[in-house]
């Protein structure tokens, strides 16, 4: 174990402050977005291990460039360390985290309890997902739950946060201060209805959106044009999903085996023709980020670099989307200047 994996500095004091005015959670991600800065989030590959050091190891390459780290909840219906466990560990180490909840594995009783537990552990962002079907995962014989769907889940947590009650109407003495996220997949059918579905998610309570991989910029631009027609970009922060492709073979495999991934043939061809496919995949990701940044209404990017997490900081740095901003602030003193949490002044743009 090397130096900055050791988690012994200042004692963690459980405090439960109210969010600053104009904010629902006060999370770093919310502050960055409301101050009008271009945000970066990144997806962590959860370990198949019970050792906290493995979580910190997985977070290290993401932390220096991400305003918040997404901990997936058994994505693709494959079993890994739980999202709530990862978020609790990382939050205590001073990282911004996004707690992902999938409706596939837990019913409304479990989910509402976990939301309170996560909030008590300091988690301030949550991403509400339907979840992939159990059939695509490593344990296809499992019982799919789907008691809630992503929208009723959003509304449920919003009710907990804003009304201070469970769905049963029972009171919650200190409500969970959560910045509510939802997913959208702008590049898969029904294309015409995707913006409408986004509107419905905003209606249900979404404060921010993280999209699935965008490899087809024209399709995404059409989506965003409709989103702007509906005025949604003023009510919700949209973070576009991007990621590096390792090779043409990997891209084809993803397209046919991972639900909800659309990669145009031209993109795969470009990587196939390159002498260094991995380099080209990285280059492509950087270019996509730069193109996406220019689309009006996009508030940030969400980097999903499955098994290429080590490339994330380089990709973000080269893309220049952070414009010199340093999101990281650890409880363990690594940087000298206080940046991140306190460096951003809220200006209250969309939303509440």
């Amino acid at each position: 174990m090397n130096e900055d994996q050791q988690l012994k500095p200042e004692p963690w004091l459980p405090s439960y402050d109210d969010p600053p005015p104009g904010h629902v959670s006060g999370s770093r991600l919310e502050r960055v977005l409301r101050s009008g800065q271009f945000a970066v989030t990144a997806e962590l590959n959860p370990p198949d291990s019970a050792d906290p050091a493995d979580v910190f190891e997985a977070a290290r390459p993401l932390a220096e460039v991400a305003d918040a780290i997404n901990a997936t909840d058994a994505s693709g219906a494959n079993c890994h360390m739980s999202s709530i466990g990862i978020c609790s560990l990382l939050t205590r180490a001073g990282h911004g985290t996004i707690y992902q909840i999938s409706c596939r594995d837990r019913n409304r009783i479990a989910i509402q309890g976990d939301v309170l537990g996560a909030a008590a552990m300091g988690v301030r962002n949550v991403l509400c997902l339907t979840g992939d079907g159990v059939g695509v995962g490593d344990q296809p014989g499992a019982k799919p739950v789907f008691d809630l769907d992503s929208l009723s889940l959003l509304r449920t947590i919003r009710t907990m946060r804003d009304e201070g009650t469970f769905l049963s109407g029972r009171r919650i003495t200190r409500p969970p201060r959560m910045f509510l996220g939802a997913a959208e997949n702008p590049c898969v059918p029904p294309l015409d209805w995707r913006p409408e579905r986004l509107a419905k998610k905003v209606e249900a309570g979404a404060d921010f959106i993280q999209t699935n991989y965008i490899f087809d910029v024209p399709v995404f631009e059409r989506f965003m044009a409709r989103v702007r027609d509906l005025g949604l970009e003023r009510r919700v922060f949209i973070l576009a999903g991007v990621g590096p492709l390792a090779s043409a073979r990997a891209a084809r495999w993803m397209r046919s085996n991972v639900p909800g991934i659309h990669i145009p043939d031209a993109v795969i061809e470009r990587i196939e023709k390159s002498a260094k496919p991995a380099e080209e995949g990285k280059r492509l990701c950087i270019e996509l980020m730069q193109q996406i940044r220019e689309i009006p209404g996009v508030a940030g990017v969400h980097v999903m670099a499955y098994r290429r997490e080590h490339e994330v900081s380089e990709i973000v740095a080269e893309s220049g989307v952070l414009k010199g901003r340093v999101p990281e602030r650890r409880r363990t003193p690594v940087t000298k200047e206080p940046v991140g949490e306190n460096a951003v002044e809220p200006a209250g743009i969309p939303g509440k």
Partner: protein
């Protein structure tokens, strides 16, 4: 049956009309149902509903029918039972992530809704299903609920009086009554 289900979505506008008629008939029959007793007719009506809607929509008898808000495409046929729109896994051509040979229930729903007169209801956020109601008649539930809503509107003035005079309501409830009055206990209003 899958093909009949597709037919129903293609003709969502006609079914919407039919359903609206059925609903107003059921609401009109509420006093009769109430007299016979909703408990007594629950099982026979549920059996008829199961047979009819099973054939037309592959109805799963969730007991909380939202067909009129989902383009006449039953959301309980979605393998994830999503009540609020498609998931992110829809395959090219609009096929289901979990059952690739089936058209996505929600792709059909949005299409069906687009053909309907009042299709914008597809934008409503639907609550989670109350699993205890599975197998019960949704038609009778709608009849009860709508009739209760109408009663409530009729009773609005009484409710307002009770709220405006809270002390009297608390101490002398007969001065600001709220309970349903039996017909024998009340004279018809002069203006009615």
């Amino acid at each position: 049956m899958y093909r009949v289900r597709l037919f129903a979505v293609r003709h969502s506008r006609a079914f919407e009309w039919l359903y609206a008629r059925l609903e107003s008939t059921m609401v009109a029959l509420d006093p009769l149902f109430a007299r016979i007793g909703y408990g007594r007719i629950e099982r026979p009506i549920a059996a008829i509903e199961r047979a009819t809607k099973g054939l037309l929509f592959d109805c799963k008898m969730c007991g909380q029918c939202v067909l009129s808000s989902t383009g006449m495409s039953c959301p309980m046929n979605c393998p994830k039972q999503l009540r609020n729109g498609p998931c992110g896994g829809v395959r090219p051509g609009g096929y289901c992530e979990v059952k690739p040979q089936m058209r996505c229930v929600w792709v059909l729903a949005w299409d069906g809704a687009a053909r309907m007169k009042d299709g914008s209801k597809v934008r409503d956020v639907q609550p989670p299903v109350d699993r205890r109601l599975e197998g019960s008649s949704s038609w009778l539930r709608v009849s009860r609920e709508k009739a209760a809503g109408l009663r409530e509107a009729r009773e609005a003035s009484r409710t307002t009086i009770a709220k405006a005079f809270p002390d009297a309501r608390a101490h002398e409830p007969a001065a600001a009554p709220l309970a349903t009055e039996p017909a024998a206990a009340i004279k018809p209003g002069r203006d009615q």
